[in-house]
């Protein structure tokens, strides 16, 4: 009836909207939408700040920034290639080590270990996330580096030295050290999240497989893990994101030499490490903008890897699996 009256200030549509808004659902929808939207706002602002503050470098170097190997603050020649290389190599190495170990441990904790032990260990692993990067770096310097220099690298050189991957002097610091340290740092994430996801797989799935005569391992690997596939991939990408952006620990063990080398023993550099090392000291606007552009490159790298990840999940998605 009220709606039929024309020309009465608010109008029927508005009145209906207000009525709907008064219901809790619409408010909840609006409020949560605002908060979710704020995330978009923050990311937008972030991109904007990075874009604006890297303008000088982008205009001067253009696309060649991605392919130049030289990083020379004194003569103002800046190129991102050695850092991109270092970031990718160390992160790949870290994943190569951490994923099998992490997944294996997660499976063990979720499927085989008694619940109390599993819970306690998971709790302790979560604590590791709170250990500051610098402490990892220190432990790396005092344990990982000497270990690599005295035992591991000579051993690898002796056995696999015909591969260019394992040639060159053994400094201890270098790509290998950084990769190993990163692996140690990201393993807790993989174990923690994978374990939770595996635990969430409905009991029926497991029991159905076992009832059909599968061995314990077959039930786990062929039924439970695929069911939790999306969550596990999620944990891996969480770990990868951490590895890409890890700063302090990496800079203490990577050798900080902006070069591209085939050997894992060689010293290298990563994007995050060079920003950490040089940002506070970068006088000169072009220098600063080049560093910010590196930050943008890292952002881009994450963007691309994320896209590949989603593509991968999409391509391998199976029906009946837990969703992302």
């Amino acid at each position: 009836m009220a709606m039929a009256r024309a020309g009465s200030g608010w109008g029927p549509r508005a009145r209906a909207l207000v009525r709907r808004l008064r219901s809790g659902d619409e408010i909840a929808h609006l409020v949560t939408f605002l908060f979710a939207g704020s995330i978009l706002l923050i990311v937008g602002l972030l991109l904007n700040e990075l874009w604006v503050n890297s303008a000088l470098a982008r205009h001067k170097f253009g696309w060649s920034f991605f392919f130049t190997r030289v990083w020379d603050p004194v003569f103002e020649q800046f190129g991102a290639l050695p850092f991109i290389f270092g970031t990718l190599v160390t992160s790949a190495l870290a994943l190569l080590i951490a994923v099998p170990v992490g997944l294996g441990a997660a499976i063990f904790l979720a499927e085989l270990a008694p619940p109390r032990i599993s819970d306690t260990l998971a709790f302790l692993l979560d604590l590791l996330a709170a250990v500051p990067s610098v402490i990892y770096g220190l432990i790396g310097i005092f344990t990982v580096v000497p270990l690599l220099r005295e035992y591991v690298e000579p051993f690898l050189k002796a056995t696999l030295g015909f591969l260019p991957l394992f040639q060159g002097p053994a400094y201890g610091v270098g790509f290998l050290a950084a990769g190993v340290l990163l692996a140690v740092m990201i393993v807790p994430f993989i174990i923690s999240v994978s374990r939770e996801v595996l635990l969430a797989v409905p009991r029926e799935q497991r029991e159905a497989a076992l009832a059909l005569g599968a061995t314990r391992w077959e039930a786990t690997w062929k039924v439970v893990v695929p069911f939790a596939r999306a969550g596990i991939f999620g944990s891996i990408f969480l770990a990868l994101a951490r590895a890409l952006g890890e700063t302090m620990a990496v800079t203490m063990v990577i050798g900080n030499a902006p070069q591209i080398a085939a050997s894992l023993f060689a010293p290298g550099y990563s994007i995050a490490a060079v920003i950490a090392n040089e940002f506070t000291e970068a006088t000169g606007d072009l220098y600063l903008h080049a560093l910010v552009e590196l930050g943008l490159v890292l952002f881009l790298l994450t963007f691309v890897l994320n896209g590949l990840a989603r593509l991968l999940i999409l391509l391998t998605a199976r029906r009946g699996g837990a969703h992302a």
Binding site: D25, F33, D126, W217
Partner: protein, 283 residues
């Protein structure tokens, strides 16, 4: 027993032991790191550490009282920003989201997660510090809060979705509106997982150094209010660890231990206080 059967049995045995070994490796590394930290940190811990201010370079003694308080303030601010945005954003994605908006928000969250902490520091520096013309606790807290958001969002969404459909449908059958269902039935069921994730996020940002370097800076003295630079445990650890003084190294280890202890304590207390709700189904 057929060959195939024997093969499958041995694969079973081998692979299960492999997972056992992986777990052993992971756990030993875990205990090694924690043990190393505890060993070195405990040696330098004393009452002074918690109550005194740092001494000037070259003099032994002193403590990190201002850094402990500073870290607490920063984390408080970070939670005030990170937790609401993360939780409510996650609720939106899990319960209300439209397709395109959800996709955009999820992608943005993943991006934010991948941004290295140092870039977030640069962001906070240009947005806040340069504009207000001084370093401050607020700038640092906001930087850390932004870092907490992705983990909180992703986990909230994940665990809300994991709540069994029957619970929701039961509530709706009883006449509850959508938000009431979420607030009184779904959320409590997912509480444990979500809280774990929020604590994980807090733990992660508690140890972050890089963003604080350009925002909260550091302070030799007590930091009054919220608008001045403040000392914080991670920055102190960093400064002391790369300095030449053995005494400072010890204090750095001690600070690392204290940081860990603080996170542990908060975690335990929070779990005890918030432990209610339906535990998730375990197989």
């Amino acid at each position: 027993m057929s060959f195939r059967r024997r093969w499958r049995k041995s694969v079973n045995a081998v692979m299960l032991s492999v997972t056992g070994i992986s777990a052993l490796v992971a756990v030993s590394v875990l205990f090694f790191i924690l043990g190393y930290l505890v060993w070195h940190g405990a040696r330098a811990l004393n009452w002074d550490f918690f109550t005194k201010l740092p001494k000037p370079v070259g003099e032994t003694g002193g403590g990190m009282a201002n850094a402990i308080v500073g870290s607490a303030k920063l984390l408080l601010l970070a939670s005030l920003v990170g937790v609401p945005v993360g939780l409510l954003g996650g609720v939106y994605l899990a319960e209300f989201g439209g397709r395109t908006v959800s996709f955009a928000v999820r992608y943005a969250t993943d991006l934010l997660n991948g941004v290295p902490s140092i870039v977030i520091g640069i962001f906070a520096y240009t947005m806040i510090v340069l504009r207000t013309k001084h370093f401050s606790t607020i700038a640092g807290g906001l930087a850390l809060g932004v870092m907490m958001i992705p983990i909180a969002v992703r986990s909230t969404e994940e665990f809300l979705r994991g709540v069994p459909r029957e619970l929701r449908e039961g509530a709706m059958a009883l006449g509850a509106s959508k938000w009431k269902t979420i607030a009184t039935v779904v959320a409590p069921a997912a509480y444990r997982g979500i809280m774990t994730a929020v604590l994980l996020a807090l733990a992660r940002v508690a140890g972050e150094t890089a963003p604080l370097l350009f925002t909260a800076f550091s302070n030799r003295f007590w930091s009054p209010g919220w608008n001045q630079p403040t000392a914080s445990l991670p920055v102190m650890i960093f400064t002391y660890a790369i300095a030449p003084y053995e005494d400072w190294h010890q204090q750095a280890w001690a600070a690392g231990l204290v940081l860990l202890g603080l996170v542990l304590a908060t975690s335990l207390i929070a779990r005890a206080v918030l432990s209610r709700g339906v535990p998730m189904r375990r197989s």
